[in-house]
Amino acid sequence: MPPDPHRKSSYELPLAGDGRPEERVRGRATPYLSESLLLRSAVWFCRLRWIAVVVLLVFGILGLFPTWLPRIGLRAHTEWPFGAAAVLTMANVVFLVNVQRLTRASVSHGAETNLWAQIIVDLLVLTVVVHYMGSLETYVGFAYLFHIVLACIFFPRLWSFLVTAVACVLYVGCVVLEETGVLSVAGIYADATLRDHMDRVPGTSLLNVTWATVTWIVVWYLTSHLSAMVRDRDDELARTNRRLLEAQEAKTQHMLLTTHELKTPFAAVDANVQALLKGYCGPLPREARGVLIRIGIRCRRLAGQIHEMLQLANLQSTDEELLRRVPVDLADVLRWCTAQVRPLAEDRGVVLDENLEPARTVAVNEQMKMLFSNLLSNAIVYSHRGGRVEARCAPVPGDGPTATIEDHGIGIAANKISRIFDAHYRTDEAVWHHQEATGLGLAIVRHVAQTHHIRVRVESEPGVGTKFLLQFPAAEQTAVPAERQEEAEDGLSDDRG
């Protein structure tokens, strides 16, 4: 049963920030990075491992020549370098196959497991290498730091600490097993004096192990702290970006409502003026009719102003990536635009000439119409009665097409020409010649030209006329999907209808 609309009810306005599940909870045990980034990291990790494999193989190969390594005081080893290289190679292949499977399947989890497996395998193999190279007398144990640092980048602090703890346990375990005789002491140095000394003086071993593990923990602390700071900054940027997108959406919505709020009452005034002028409410005195005609003229002017303001606001608030660029023939667009402004030209006694060759480019169809409609109507209104406006377009071999709108009207003074594209800017001469304009037409032209990377050149001389030359970028029609091609064709044919 639907709730009774007349029942007593209450509502509390939520405070700003309420109900925002996207806010990050600090310290949560979830991965820092996105799945795709983790997968890329997993691949990168595998590439680094190939370097370790190569180093081990080189060391093993050098061991095959029994006299080479002893010359520099090292023992020749073959079994464990090849064994470790083989294990790492097999593991790497498995990891890469797993990454490929995860990428193809587009699953939302699995990369973490892959990275965890890589780190664990590496730590185990590294411990074997540390044992055979010398756990106390060499610095090879510090290779654990690579994994600690990488874990700090890939994972939250708790997880990276776990990696650090595993590294410490494996290293300490290796040393303890060696010191207790469970594992025979290996070592890479031919001269075992250093290790013998350490074995005889237990404090030395203890100090070395303690120093190493403390260093790893300090490195983990610093790196994970820095990583968390960077991640917090990333989150903050992401939240700001999200808020900006929401604000953009709200702005568009506001624009929609403002359009309605501005135009609806105005449309009613305009329609009623028309109804009165048509005599639907009875005959009107001559003076009243004159007043209504003036109201009607102001209504149409206001309509044009609202239209231009909204066009410019819409252009400025539209995300460039969302624009639908389609193949466009400038000749078709110019033909459509000249048809639109021809009544204005006839009204002002201006001749409109066309010299249009097929000139294809890729553009937003509506914006092209805005651009040329504004240039043409400007050319017409700033022409003298009996003047001539010419619209031309042509392809340019090896480059984008050109278009030209030329009038022989009032022209623009040299010291003012650089400001004509500013919103609401109008020269005194322009105002004197034609009062009914907002000064937004060329601001719209500028915005469209910049969006489409069109080079606009203005040549003008007061009392002689003005020429706008437009050089379009070369068209890249292959980048336009097939449905856009159809859409472009449909759009023009519909508009003519």
């Binding site: 568009t252 609806t264 048509k278 066009q311």
Partner: protein, 140 residues
Amino acid sequence: MAYLMIVDDDEDFANAAAMELRDAGHEVAIELRPHSAVESMEKRRPDLVILDVMFPEDISAGFELARTIRHENERLRGIPILMLTAVNQRFPLGFGSADVGGDWLPVAAFLEKPVDLGMLRDKVSALLCKEDADGGDEAF
């Protein structure tokens, strides 16, 4: 002569448009709310609906009503709709002529407010002629 229905929350505009269309010889009813419009249409099926897009309680109520007429209400299906809108119709918020008649915006035509009443009269006549030529319900 046809029976037309104007569905628009702006009574002043609707009255002025109705004067023009009555002068053209049509019978015109005005409905200010989409819900009452559906009830009224079910009682007497109009030959053409002139529909606003945005209503105070729902900015897309006009679209919803157009879809109801086009897809959901068997008794109203096929009534041609002329959509009048104060929303900038071409760029970049809304819809273009390519959308007209499709599932998304099932209307026969649209005009942007403020509208020239003579143009409204011509558009209505053209749509009614097209409706006659296409044979009623199969117009879409």
